[in-house]
Every structure is written in C-alpha cells, then in structure tokens.
C-alpha cells in the first residue's frame, strides 16, 4: 500500500490455517517448533491456548485461527508452533502447517478488501506467490497469501481488555 517502500524485497514465511495460506514477515520469526500441549491459563480469552517453555522463557501459545475468527485448528501430526517476536514480546502461533519461505516484492502486495475478518486490519495485504507443486513443477496459477500484520494482532492489548 505504501508506495514509498515498494522496491524492497522481503522474505515471508507461509503457513496454512484451514484452507488459507498466510504469510508473516520472516524477520519476526524466531523459530518453528513441534506442537506440544501448553499449560492452560485461567482467566484468558479462548484463543490463548496456554503458556509453554521456550528455553526458559514462558511464552503464550495463541490459537491463530481463532484469533483471526476462523474455525479453531484441530491438532494433527503437522501442527506446529511459529514462535514470533511482536513488539518485543514473544508468542507462539498454532498453525496447521508451515509451507515455505518466499521472497516477495513489496510492490506486488495488494490491499486487502475491507471486512475480511472480525478486524480486517490484521491483514496487511494480499500477495500472489508461485509455489512448487508436489512433483516439482511450478504452479503457474500461484497461490494467494494473506499477509498478517503482527503488530495489529495486538495480542497483549486484546488480553488486557479481556482480563
């Protein structure tokens, strides 16, 4: 959307929630871990699945699908936790599957239409990426990726209101 910063390439991590492909800025990613049941917390909104131990740090685990207003993710073998840094705080996102790391050009990002989810503002924009199909050939049609604005998820702010 911002035309001033159009030319910088950036890398995104793509992952799947339900049937949608989402992407977050690679620089926010700390690590990807296998799903393991977090310790549930009392008195927090439902999308906070609990807390887990990340190398001695106690970090919240967020059901990202629920946070975005989709059906809650079911836990399966490929479920994993994307650990991200949001404004200095760490959080883990439960996602259905992590796909790939892709370089995109900021100029290719299109604005998301309004009223996409409960709060449309959490979607930074839409971008089309070409993905490798299972057989290694290129999927020429490409896939639409919903880019998440992590800061706008306002995880802690939201929680503060709920508390």
């Amino acid at each position: 959307m911002n035309t001033e910063t159009t030319n910088t390439d950036c890398k995104i991590v793509t992952f799947i929630l339900g049937h949608q492909t989402f992407g977050i800025d690679m620089t926010a990613l700390i690590e990807i871990r296998e799903w393991e049941n977090p310790t549930p917390l009392p008195n927090v909104p439902g999308f906070i699945k609990g807390v887990t131990n990340l190398r001695g740090n106690v970090i919240p685990v967020v059901g990202l699908a629920e946070r975005l207003g989709w059906e809650p993710s079911a836990i399966h073998a490929r479920s994993c936790i994307l650990v991200v840094n949001i404004l200095g705080k760490q959080a883990g996102f439960l996602v259905d599957e992590v796909n790939d790391i892709v370089a995109i050009n900021r100029s290719e990002i299109q604005p998301a239409p309004e009223v996409e989810t409960i709060e449309s503002s959490v979607i930074d924009g839409l971008v089309r990426i070409t993905t490798r199909a299972k057989d290694g050939t290129r999927d020429e049609n490409g896939t639409m990726v919903l880019l998440l604005d992590l800061d706008a998820l306002s995880l802690t702010k939201h929680l503060d209101l709920a508390a």
């Binding site: 008195n43 999308f47 131990n53 001695g56 740090n57 106690v58 929680l159």
Partner: protein
C-alpha cells in the same frame, strides 16, 4: 559525549548515595558518643567526595552546601570544634539537607531551603572561635586560608596544637595581601581524556575560584602525524589569588587521572623572606625555610597518599619549628590506603545480575531434566552429581552477588529512634545484632518501610514511659533489640522491646468495637496478638503522629507478605513484645508446594500454607449450592475447588482429595481442594507479563524439572476473588 557524561553522572549519584549512607552511619555513631578520629574522618571524606563530584558536574547549590558542611566537619576533625551533642545535632540536620540537595541535583526534588542550616553551620564555625578563647581565629578562616583542612587535620593527628597558636601569631602577614599568590602547574595525564578526566572542566573549576591562566605549554604537542586526538598534551600554568585555601585548589584535582602532574605552590615574594610566613600553611613553604623552596610535585598516584605525604611533610616541618621529636605515624595516614584496597569493587547493572540469575535458574532446571532422562544407573555416575554440585555452587554465587548486608536497612534505625526519643520523651536504648547478615538487594529495599513501622510501634506502643517503667519495677530506659539472622533459606528480622507487652484485653475489646471479630469469638492469645495486624486496627488511645493511625501494622503485614514472607508476633504481658519478619533470602526463588488441581500442576507459595488435611466423610459441608466449608476442629473454613477458582473440571470426590489450608492477609483462612501434593521445592519465578501480561489469580509461572510449566497461585488474589467469583474463560477443555 553527553551520553557518556550522563553515565558518569549516574555513577556520581550512586557514589553520592553511598557517601550519604557512610556519612549518616558516621554521624549516628558520633551522636552515640563515638567521636574517634576515624569516624569523623569517614564522615568528612564522604561529604568531601560528594562536594568534589558535585563541583565537577556543576551542581553549584550542592557544592556550596557541601562545602560549608565540610568546613565544619573539618574543624571538628581538626579538634577545633568539639563534637558536642549540639554540634552533632546541627551536623545531622545538615546531613538531611545534604541529602535533599543530592535529590535536587538528581532533579528529583526542588532546591531545598538551606538558609537555616547554613546559618546553623556558620554559627558553629564562629562559636568555635569564641569557645577557643581566640576570637581572631574565625576571621582567619576565610581570608587567610590558614586553617586549611590538611594542616588542621595534621595538627590534630600529631598533637601539634602549638602550630595553631603560631598561626594566630602570624595572622596579619598571612592574610595581608596578594603576597604569595598561588602558582598552579597542571599537566593532565596523557590518558586523561580517555579516562573522562576532561582538563577543561578542571580549568573551569579553578577559574571559578579566581584562577587565571598564565601560560599554556604547547611544546609537548607532537607533530601532526604523531598526534593522537584522544591524548592530552598541554600543560597549564595558572595563578590563583593568595586567599584561596590550598585545599580548595586541591579539591579541583580530586578526580584527575593518577599520573597527572599537579604542582601548587606559593609564588615567592619579598614577604616570603619571613621564614614563618608560610610555615603553617603548606609543606613546600615549610620546607622552603630550610631547603630553599622545594615545590611539592608528586605524581598523583593516589591522592590520599599524596595528602598523607603533605601531612607528613607538615608534621616534619612542625616538628622542626617546635623542636619536638618526630611524630608517631598518624592513624589516619595508615588507615586510608587500607580502606582504598578494601574497596576493590566493580559496579554492575542490577539487570545483568538478574539475567545471570535467570540463566542459572535455567541451568538448574536443565540439570534436573537431564537427570530425569538418564537411566538410574547413569544417574549415579560421577559426572552428573558433579554437574549438579557445580550448578548449585554457581547458583549460590550468583545469589550472593545480589546479597547485601542488612546493615543498609538497619542503619537508619538509630537516628529514627533518637527522633522518637525526643518526640515521645522516652529514653530508648537500641541494641542491634546480625547486621552483617546478607540478604538479596531487592529484599533490603523493601523491608525499610515495614521495619520503620515496627520500630515506631515498639517505641510508641511497646515501651512505657519512664514513670510507668519505674512503677513496674523496671529500669527507666526502655530497650529495643534489632536483630537479623539467617536460618536455611529464610531471614529472621526481629524487633523486640522490653515494654508492657500486648494488652490482649484491650486488643480484643478494640477488635470487637471495630467489627474485626465478633463479640463471642473464641481466640487464642496468639490469635489476639495477630489482630494488631488486621486492617484498620489501632489501639493507641490518642493518635500520635508516630504511630497509631491504624495503618501501621497491616501495612507491615501486607508488605512482608508481598515479599513472600510473614510476620510472627510473640508477647509476654509486662515483659515485652517481639515482632519477627520471616523473609525469603531472595525474590527470584520461591519455596513452593507443588500440587495438582484437576490434574494440572500448580505451585502454592509455602509461606501461605498452614496445614493440609485429608477430609473425613462429612467434614466438608455445603452451605449453599456453590459454597462449602470444612470443619477444622470446630472452626468452619471456606473451601475452594479448582472449578471455583479456574473453572477447571474436577469430579473427584472430596474424600479422595486433600484440603490445603492456606491463610491470606485480610481474608483469613481458606481450604483449597487439591488432588495430590506432588512435591515441595524451590522454584524460579518467571513473570507472565514478560511475554503476556499479569493474570489475576496467578503470581507467575515456573518451569519444573521436566521442562513443563507450572503456574504459581497468588493466594491473596484467589481468596479475595472468592467474593466476586472468577468468570472462567478459555479453560473449558
């Protein structure tokens, strides 16, 4: 640069704080009758370095006040003013103002009104002269620089009062004129700039004293290609009016790099021919008589040491003049270098220590995870116990880094008691012990207020007036014992008085009157004693301004409990009361009971746990569809289940569960139904708000030996929330 300066200034303020503590301890000791040279010199040095630093950072008000204070201290140090209680009182008041000035310099407070204190100090200075029977002495002080600190001190240390007398004799010539203006040669260390010893600041400071730059030697500046812009090359020659005391000039050089060259000497004039003119003023002048002007030009490796040299030189000169035998080594001269050696410390940001402590906590946890994963046979191998032992040692050491002697918290008590003595008209003795007990810095910072309340309480309520004491057959003076000791992972801080003890009848009557207990409540003596910690309780018949506003003891209790500690009260009528604060050694580690609530593990802070019971059938009774009580030996204690607290599902029968009786401040006892008790261990507290935000009902989280997380229950919040029930969200699963 300005950042660097800020940093240095921050260090200066830290040093100010330390200096103030030292000064207060010294002044308190002086008021307690310890007027030894070391004590006085300690106070002097503390105020002196505050002044020096304040000057360098341009805190004019602070400098001016410290200067005046220092003058008085110096006279006391020199034995010219006797440290009578009156004088010490003035100094204590001045100390308070000095603290206020430091606060003002920090920008935390406005400039204090120091006019009265300055006047009081001035009065002490002036009266000193009258007291000596030598009125001329006072005028000498300012213009002639004659009683400049070093000589004065030296005279005292070496017992050369005759020098002072001779000073009066030579008053006229020494204060006379521009004769003997100072010539100062200053060559900063090459590394001065790198060591933040900016010569410009020193030159400016000298200029404020009236110095003018006579010459700058630039011959030492190397050719451009060899020039290191970080080095200092110039040598300055300055002249200073004769009436500036030498020590004021020396003070400007307090913080220069050690290998700087500083020469301060009297310019030679006709009147210098009079051999006695300079004799009492400085060492070089004294030497000049005999050796023909030898300037003091010592490398300043250690300014104190240098002063000692000067002191020694003066002593020698004095000896020559008075034809007395050489003096014995001065005690101060011997003590100063030792003190410097002992203070081999570095300053470390507290946050770094916290991080270190956290990391070590992790190490401990990983250790036990490792042990859990190994087969029992492997566990017994020497490496693992060794690793565990080393880890434990590291942990102890890191904890000890944060540990400080509790003396810091105790040091303000003597002074407080003196004030209380005056206010209450009671004579109070204080006996302290265990001041060297080391406690986590965080704990020390937080026990100050509770301690103050407890001392005030003991002085105001505990101790009787002298008449009452005599009537009861006791000594008229009451005594308060303040002690600290470590037992295991706990620190016991006791405040004991030999006063009247708690009047249980009155406490009980008051509690009933205030509606804290019901009129027919059956209470044990201990329970009645505990009532004085209940919110809104105050038995003082008249509300004094010392204690008795009814906020004291419950604040003490909540403060102490916030630290994970508890208060114990024992009282014997007619013999006295003892308040004991039982505190954890550290705030980062908590002694916890690990329990399961609806299969999930939680940590209960052990300080809140009173007892655990396995309920008999019928012992737990329902009082409403939602509320239950447990019959504890006739006392009905409300019972909370996991579902009440967190909405966790738990269909376990009460008889299969355990009830942990916990006690909270203000809400009494509550029984917590738990599945089992897993363990009792020390846990490292991890805050939830680091990555999330604080959650009501939880005091944080900890990582257990298997790497999983257990939540720490906040008993206070849980019990308080029992009235307004939690609305469980998100834990339906």
């Amino acid at each position: 640069m300005s950042d660097e300066l800020d940093e240095i200034q921050a260090i200066f303020f830290e040093e100010c704080t330390e200096g103030l503590v030292t000064a207060e301890q010294g002044l308190s000791a002086m008021q307690g009758g310890d007027v030894s040279a070391e004590t006085i010199a300690g106070v002097f040095r503390a105020v002196h370095s505050i002044k020096g630093g304040a000057g360098a950072f341009g805190h004019a008000d602070l400098t001016a006040f410290a200067h005046k204070f220092e003058n008085v201290l110096d006279e006391v140090r020199g034995g010219k003013i006797a440290p009578t209680p009156g004088v010490v009182k003035v100094m204590l008041a001045s100390f308070d103002l000095l603290s206020d000035h430091v606060e003002a310099a920090k920008g935390l407070a406005g400039r204090p009104n120091d006019a009265a204190a300055l006047a009081a100090l001035e009065k002490v200075l002036v009266e000193r002269g009258a007291g000596d029977g030598a009125p001329a002495a006072a005028p000498v002080a300012a213009p002639a620089a004659a009683p400049a600190p070093a000589p004065a001190a030296a005279e005292d240390d070496f017992g050369f009062t005759p020098v002072l007398v001779s000073l009066d004799d030579f008053e006229a010539p020494s204060s006379a004129s521009s004769d003997g203006a100072w010539v100062i040669r200053f060559k900063p260390s090459q590394a001065a700039l790198a060591n933040a010893g900016e010569p410009l600041l020193i030159i400016r400071e000298l200029e404020t004293l009236g110095a003018t730059i006579e010459a700058v030697d630039v011959t030492t500046v190397p050719p451009l290609r060899d020039l290191d812009p970080e080095n200092a090359y110039f040598t300055w020659t300055l002249s200073m009016p004769a009436d500036v005391p030498e020590n004021d000039i020396r003070d400007c050089f307090d913080f220069v790099a050690p290998d700087s060259v500083i020469e301060i000497e009297r310019a030679r004039t006709e009147s210098a021919a009079d051999p006695f003119d300079f004799a009492p003023i400085s060492a070089p002048a004294a030497e000049a008589d005999e050796m023909g002007f030898v300037p003091v030009s010592a490398l300043i490796e250690n300014f104190d040491a240098n002063i000692d040299q000067v002191v020694q030189a003066i002593a020698n000169a004095g000896a020559a003049l008075a034809a007395a035998p050489p003096p014995a080594p001065a005690t101060e001269a011997a003590a100063t270098p030792k003190a410097v050696e002992a203070a081999q410390t570095i300053r470390v940001d507290l946050a770094k220590l916290d991080l270190l402590l956290n990391l070590v906590g992790e190490l401990v946890i990983r250790n036990s995870i490792l042990a859990d994963r190994l087969s029992p046979a492997d566990r017994q191998r020497v490496e693992l116990p060794e690793l565990a032992r080393l880890t434990r040692q590291i942990q102890d050491n890191v904890m000890s880094l944060r540990a400080q002697p509790i003396k810091q918290a105790f040091s303000r008590v003597p002074r407080m008691l003196r004030d209380l003595s005056v206010e209450t008209g009671k004579t109070i003795n204080l006996e302290t012990s265990g001041e060297t007990t080391e406690v986590d810095k965080g704990v020390i910072e937080k026990i100050g207020d509770p301690l103050t309340h407890m001392i005030r309480n003991a002085a105001d309520h505990g101790l009787e007036s002298a008449q009452e004491r005599i009537a009861a057959g006791k000594e008229p003076a009451g005594t308060i014992w303040l002690s600290a000791e470590q037992k295991g992972a706990r620190i016991f801080v006791r405040v004991r008085d030999n006063g009247r003890g708690i009047n249980r009848e009155r406490v009980r009557a008051k509690a009933i009157e205030k509606g804290i207990i019901s009129a027919d409540a059956q209470l044990t003596n201990e329970e009645i004693d505990q009532l004085i910690c209940a919110p809104g309780f105050s038995t003082a018949e008249t509300i004094s301004n010392i204690s008795g506003r009814g906020v004291g003891m419950d604040v003490v209790r909540s403060n102490v409990e916030a630290l994970g500690g508890r208060i114990e009260i024992t009282s014997v009528p007619g013999e006295g009361t003892t308040f004991t604060m039982v505190l954890p050694l550290t705030l980062a580690i908590l002694d916890g009971m690990i329990v399961r609530l609806a299969s999930q593990r939680f940590v209960l802070p052990l300080t809140h746990v009173l007892e655990t019971v396995q309920p008999e059938p019928g012992q737990v009774k329902r009082t409403s569809p939602d509320t239950e009580v447990i019959d504890m030996r006739g006392e009905y204690v409300p019972v909370k289940r996991a579902v009440d607290i967190f909405g966790l599902n738990d269909d376990r029968a009460i008889e299969e569960s355990l009830v942990v009786i916990v006690e909270s401040e203000g809400h009494g006892k509550v029984g917590l139904v738990v599945d089992t008790i897993d363990d009792r261990r020390e846990v490292v507290i991890k805050s939830l708000d680091q990555n999330l935000h604080p959650i009501r009902g939880l005091g944080g989280a900890t990582i257990l030996g298997d790497g999983s997380i257990a939540l720490i229950l906040d008993i206070e919040a849980l019990v308080a929330a029992s009235a307004t029930r939690f609305t469980p969200k998100g834990l339906a699963a």
